[in-house]
Symmetry: C2
Subunit: 497 residues, 2 copies
């Protein structure tokens, strides 16, 4: 028996096909084989116009500013401090990139690692529902670090962010929800590949090198949900930021991966797709038309706690605004959410700030009493406030059956019923939390969150300067001049290096 014909169909022939494609790309001729999924995305990433609509640029600037605020605040977290300590072992020669929280400079990959960990450390950074990732916590630290080291402009950062976000969505849609439900940390895995594309764009790589950047990003894609609840969760976001940046630099310098690595037998979809991934369909989700930031948008968090509480908190604030009741008027509050939300919110009587972030009772009590939630509500002392603990028994929670969560449109209704002592029964429901594209944040809400993150670390004046700099990012000519002034603060101290 001989199996030679099987042998010719795998492995080395694929390599030859890449070499042919590479040669033809380099001479500008047509590719000799149909483009792979990775090549389709890379071609869009390398060649799409940088003349972005204001409807894309404005939310991108908002997302970058929101992520910078999360980095400043999150740099005080234990996970971020640990990563920063290690990264300080290897200071930069030459320009380097600023580490938020210390102002030290490190090689860009290490700065991206430290700042990405900080961005995700308090879980206050935005969600990106198109890819089931925290896209900005990976993209923004990588782009700022690489941009600072290379002297990119603010417009280049925005351009790289928009390219990266669309690539994030393109990869994420191919494998999710299946990938995430299996247990992969999509923020880290999908995020690494999308961020490789973003950094390739910032380095102005052509479509051939961009494909290699994304291929190497796929080699470096790692991260498991089995780490949730530990430092390793934000660590994995920082890791993806580092690796996406590294992948682009390696591709720039001639390192090559396979263009079939998303599609082939031992590739990303088969290995990381989970039990029933949809695969890639660019007819259903055309790249950039419209840009995903306009079509789906980001979901910045207004409340510094588990996203599973957000629609319930918003429901409560909606009812308070409509009916103008106070905490002393309320007899009970009943929430109706999804099963996965109930599973996330497993602390009825939280004893510390970590547990309080995952307590519907605590979050609803604070919202009822004060009308909003702040980072200052998540300290060991704040959790024990008698006036809040007295209100926690008012809240009860039930879940819809698990099957309800398989709704592919992803619009899950959360209901709230508030009974007042007067006998009045108030009901409301939401399909989207505040901050999502269906109910975007107002300028004042964005500013309040920014200050909530930055003022305790930087003080009022420097926070205002940073806010202005973020919002003027498009006018910045050289990030290497802007960033050290903007972000070189020691955590907990209001000074600029």
């Amino acid at each position: 028996m001989t199996v030679r014909h099987i042998g010719t169909e795998i492995g080395h022939l694929s390599r030859i096909s890449i070499k042919l494609r590479a040669a033809s790309d380099q001479t500008g001729a047509m590719t000799m084989t149909a483009p792979t999924t990775l090549e389709k995305i890379a071609t869009w990433a390398a060649t799409t116009s940088s003349d972005w609509s204001i409807n894309s640029v404005t939310p991108a600037i908002h997302a970058i500013a929101d992520t910078v605020a999360c980095m400043v605040s999150g740099a005080t977290d234990a996970a971020a401090i640990g990563v920063r300590t290690t990264v300080h072992s290897w200071p930069a020669v030459g320009p380097g990139a600023t580490i938020v929280g210390s102002g030290c400079r490190a090689p860009a990959p290490f700065a991206a690692f430290a700042n990405g960990t900080a961005a995700h450390a308090q879980d206050f950074d935005d969600n990106f529902l198109a890819a089931l990732t925290h896209a900005s916590a990976v993209l923004v630290p990588a782009l700022l670090a690489l941009g600072e080291e290379t002297g990119a402009s603010g417009a280049d950062i925005i351009d790289g962010y928009l390219v990266g976000l669309e690539c994030h969505a393109a990869i994420g849609r191919g494998v999710n929800r299946s990938h995430y439900l299996k247990g992969f940390h999509a923020t880290a895995t999908v995020g690494c590949i999308g961020t490789a594309a973003a950094c390739a764009r910032l380095l102005k790589l052509d479509e051939f090198r961009t494909a290699h950047a994304m291929s190497l990003g796929t080699s470096m894609a790692a991260g498991l949900k089995g780490q949730f609840g530990s430092h390793a969760k934000p660590f994995q976001a920082g890791m993806a930021a580092q690796n996406g940046l590294l992948a682009a630099c390696f591709a720039r310098d001639g390192v090559e991966g396979r263009a079939e690595v998303l599609d082939n037998e031992y590739g990303f979809l088969k290995l990381f797709g989970g039990d029933a991934p949809p695969g890639w369909d660019f007819a259903a989700f055309p790249l950039g038309t419209p840009h995903v930031i306009e079509a789906v948008g980001l979901a910045p968090k207004l409340h510094p706690c588990c996203g599973s509480t957000h629609k319930s908190i918003d429901n409560l604030l909606d009812l308070k605004a409509q009916h103008n009741f106070q905490s002393e008027d309320v007899e009970s509050m009943h929430t109706f959410v999804n099963t996965s939300n109930v599973l996330n919110l497993c602390f009825d009587a939280p004893q510390n700030e970590m547990e309080a972030r995952f307590s519907m009772q605590y979050c609803m009590a604070v919202a009822l009493k004060y009308g909003f939630l702040s980072l200052q509500d998540f300290t060991p002392e704040a959790v024990q406030r008698p006036e809040i603990r007295a209100l926690m028994p008012l809240t009860t929670m039930d879940a819809t059956p698990p099957e309800a969560e398989l709704n592919p449109a992803g619009e899950y209704v959360h209901e709230l019923t508030v009974k007042l002592k007067s006998g009045a029964v108030l009901k409301t429901a939401r399909t989207c939390a505040k901050g999502t594209i269906g109910d975007p944040l107002k300028d004042a809400e964005r500013r309040r969150k920014f200050d909530d993150c930055c003022v305790p670390v930087l003080g009022d004046a420097k926070s205002a300067t940073l806010y202005a700099a973020c919002n003027d990012l498009i006018g910045c000519q050289d990030l290497a001049e802007l960033i050290p002034n903007m972000l070189a603060s020691s955590a907990g101290h209001a000074h600029v290096a």
Copy 2:
């Protein structure tokens, strides 16, 4: 309907369990829960005696020397040159670690990346059948880089190597062959976790911090076989070397992962184990008793070509030694190997050195003509030699049925029949290639391979110095003094920086 009871069983309770365990470990009290798989391995790694048997130390030194030779030679490969170019962007402040092939110094993680890529670039580095990995190509670059940066001794490197190799086996046995057959690049995935343990040992971390190092190594474990046939294959070995080193440094500085990450619902076994992983059974494979290097051993390559050819080449050399025939005496040579070997060896008529490495006909022709294979046989010119091409049609190959390869003992017989023009029919068979524990290399064979790798790059005198330094590693007091003299050579030039 309420699902609160389910909620208490996942996620945050696991975190609490870690915190309790951490607190108790730090006070030296008994742990409050049964140790996880990761904790069992980490406890062994942190606490096992450094008083190793000579039967472990000697093969460890041989493996380190063999890997150093592969690094020197592999640093001339395109994949290694590309990675090195990128890493040069970020030179070291302070001690740093030497990049083989340029003599530049970089932060230890980057040096490990470059040198790991070099070690695996020519696929001439050893196999480690216990874990289905190229263990040394990940362990040795990481340990040498970290050891150089921290001024470790040669004995510390050997100790770290032996600890790391056993941990490599412990992780690999839990998921293989299933993990590898699914398509994960075990060298990179398993290798990262095992190398985190090795580097933790070099840093002298306690068992608690060692568990965190291995947990973070699991977060960083990446790499797919979908990249085989491209630069990304050796790149993934370099990546694992970098990441294992980083994981240990992060754990040293207080970053923590979950101790359940190998075992839990969204952990390594479930996500990366493939279709039917065996899971971990330390009764069947006790950690270190005997050490895996004595029980299973490494499989250094004597021939610089695909391992699938090795038993056939050895069979031929065995027959030549017994019967003393020459190439002109031979009428035909028929090999009988496994299906996967045939699939690997898909070039009957190779046109370049890459294809020649995966050609049974070419390798057998060289072995028949010259009695051994050298790196010099794998150049574009060597492949076209008329005297070799004339001998290639003598070889035919057939495969056993695929089922034969599921033999759990992993001992696959390869048969060779040589017909001489005299009418004589010579037959032989092998279950193990030369270099494996069943047929270990002789000193002269090891030295010839070392010189084959190093002399074209370093010249005779420096190769001899390097060989002596590797074999005297146990006497080295400070790697920071030894390494720059030993490995700071520019590829292709015989000078020492």
